[in-house]
């Protein structure tokens, strides 16, 4: 088993004529926590969405756990993967969205058990036991049967994290998980993410929470205009940024 979880080489992504990613090259090791920082429109969310094939890349190579994302390579040719295979691979990659995207017609518990029962074909009892464990872990012991509308933003996002974890992913992607939250509620979500990082989960986090990045990240990547401006340890990128662009961004957000 390789130690590399995500490997991107010269990844390009266009939306029509608009080139959003202009050659991203980086690796995320197993157990590593990587934070992607950068101004809006820098391509960090798009890159994150490419990792679980919510967006198709236009050129370059992107692989997760040694396998190409969305394609199969044989005899020097690329073959598109069938939707079913793409769906199978997504089971192993958890994703948390800025707008939570909980299923509003289901309770917290049903949100968490849906994929394990439907996709992994686990028994209802087993799935519910595991879901309760996960909801307890994110501090929502008394909210099993609440619909999302009855939960605060922070509680909803914690349910969303539990929902992703219920599939036992090997990689978790976070797309600005706290950007839609009231300042008071940001902490409870970051606490859960901090615990998750400590447990050894491989995480790629798009965030504007510099404090979280400094404390939790193994690697911080600063992106702008569809390229990686600089990458390194939090001390390097946040403490002593080499590039002017990084410095000016940090001076505005800190």
């Amino acid at each position: 088993m390789s130690d590399v979880m995500v490997k991107a080489e010269g990844v390009h992504k266009r939306f029509g004529a608009n080139e959003v990613l202009k050659g991203i090259t980086l690796t995320v090791d197993r157990g590593e926590v990587m934070c992607l920082l950068g101004p809006s429109g820098s391509g960090k969310s798009t890159f994150l969405r490419c990792i679980n094939h919510l967006e198709k890349i236009n050129s370059g190579r992107l692989s997760v756990d040694g396998e190409l994302v969305g394609y199969r390579e044989a005899n020097g040719k690329l073959y598109e993967l069938h939707e079913r295979v793409v769906a199978q691979k997504r089971q192993e990659i958890g994703m948390v969205f800025q707008s939570f995207n909980l299923f509003p017609h289901m309770t917290a518990l049903q949100n968490v058990t849906l994929a394990p029962t439907l996709v992994r074909r686990r028994g209802r009892e087993e799935a519910e036991r595991r879901a309760c464990e996960l909801l307890d872990r994110v501090g929502l012991k008394d909210k099993y049967h609440a619909h999302p509308v009855a939960l605060s933003g922070g509680q909803q996002q914690r349910v969303a994290i539990a929902r992703a974890l219920a599939m036992d992913p090997k990689l978790m992607l976070f797309d600005e998980p706290t950007s839609a939250l009231d300042p008071e509620l940001v902490g409870e979500v970051l606490d859960v993410m901090r615990d998750l990082a400590r447990s050894g989960m491989t995480m790629v986090v798009v965030t504007h929470e510099i404090g979280f990045a400094r404390e939790v990240a193994d690697t911080v990547v600063f992106m702008d205009g569809g390229v990686v401006v600089e990458a390194g340890s939090p001390a390097e990128v946040l403490g002593a940024p080499k590039h002017e662009r990084t410095r000016s961004f940090l001076s505005k957000v800190l």
Binding site: N101, H105, A115, P148, A150, M167
Partner: protein
């Protein structure tokens, strides 16, 4: 904040406000005018002999009328079920990335919404003029099933085919509106959990789309209940057909139309009740508080009712 904290700041809670309500003479005047008009309508209806209320009473539960009402109810249920299934398939085809399916669905909807229902009834009834034999098989190749159109296209069969195929076209647009009303983030979240397209549609998108689909489906059901009367032109023995059959013999036209109308109103009322409970069911999780009941709404009419936007 804590209860105890609050009481420390304000140990004495002031009395509830008892203010004299604003006088609203306009409201009383409006109500008075409406009541006067209503009273004169009631007087006209009750005193006018031409309404023939005794004849209405005589035929209201006539076995021919009852059988007509049952035919309407039965046909509506049957054609609506098929129409909803057909409409769902057409809506999904129209939203699919496959250009052939998309175009086929568009053409279907274009054709069946674009021609009058009356024409479609007569068309289906006369289909045997167009296809003397029914053969199902490979186009230009061998066929497997042979049928005589006379056995398939009875009056009931023609009415059912016309109503359900027509309803499919309308329901397709209703279902499509419901599907596109569900935010894309829902499908993305489901996809990121590893659900496939069919699972996403069944478990995530359609249950939420139902909230948008149901009210216009209630409309469709009520329209169909009444549109079935058009099938009288091909001799389908529904409510209006039975009523007209009776008044053709006894010339009591108005009373029998009233009988038919009373039954139509009763049948549409059933649709109302069904819609109310279905909407409550699919509305779960979309509102913080349970919607006000009928009783609460009427009570709020009497009391104050000055504040708020509504």
């Amino acid at each position: 904040m804590d209860q105890t904290e609050l009481t420390q700041i304000a140990p004495e809670r002031p009395d509830d406000i008892k203010a004299v309500p604003v006088r609203r003479p306009g409201r009383w005047l409006g109500a008075f005018i409406v009541l006067v008009i209503a009273a004169s309508i009631v007087r006209a209806v009750v005193t006018n002999k031409n309404f023939g209320w005794s004849v209405v009473g005589q035929y209201l539960f006539d076995h021919r009328i009852i059988s007509g009402a049952i035919a309407v109810l039965y046909m509506t249920a049957l054609a609506m079920v098929v129409g909803v299934i057909l409409g769902t398939i057409l809506a999904i085809m129209r939203l699919s990335p496959n250009p052939v399916l998309k175009t086929a669905s568009w053409l279907y909807i274009w054709f069946f919404r674009g021609t009058p229902l009356l024409v479609q009834f007569v068309f289906w009834f006369n289909i045997k003029a167009l296809f003397p034999h029914i053969d199902l098989g490979v186009p230009f190749g061998p066929s497997f099933i042979h049928a005589d159109p006379n056995s398939v296209i009875t009056v009931f069969g023609a009415a059912f085919l016309a109503l359900s195929t027509n309803e499919g076209a309308y329901m397709a647009e209703v279902v499509r509106a419901g599907i596109i009303s569900v935010p894309e983030g829902q499908s993305e979240a489901a996809a990121s959990l590893g659900l496939n397209r069919l699972q996403i549609m069944r478990k995530v998108v359609l249950p939420q789309a139902m909230r948008v689909i149901l009210p216009p489906t209630g409309n469709e059901t009520i329209s169909m209940l009444k549109n079935i009367s058009i099938a009288s032109v091909i001799g389908f023995a529904e409510l209006y057909y039975q009523a007209s059959d009776i008044y053709a013999q006894n010339y009591e036209t108005i009373p029998l139309l009233i009988v038919a109308s009373i039954w139509y109103l009763a049948l549409t009322s059933i649709a109302y009740v069904g819609q109310y409970f279905l909407e409550r069911k699919v509305g779960q999780g979309f509102s913080r508080s349970q919607q006000a009941t009928m009783k609460e709404r009427w009570l709020s009419l009497g009391a104050g009712g000055g504040g708020g936007l509504r």
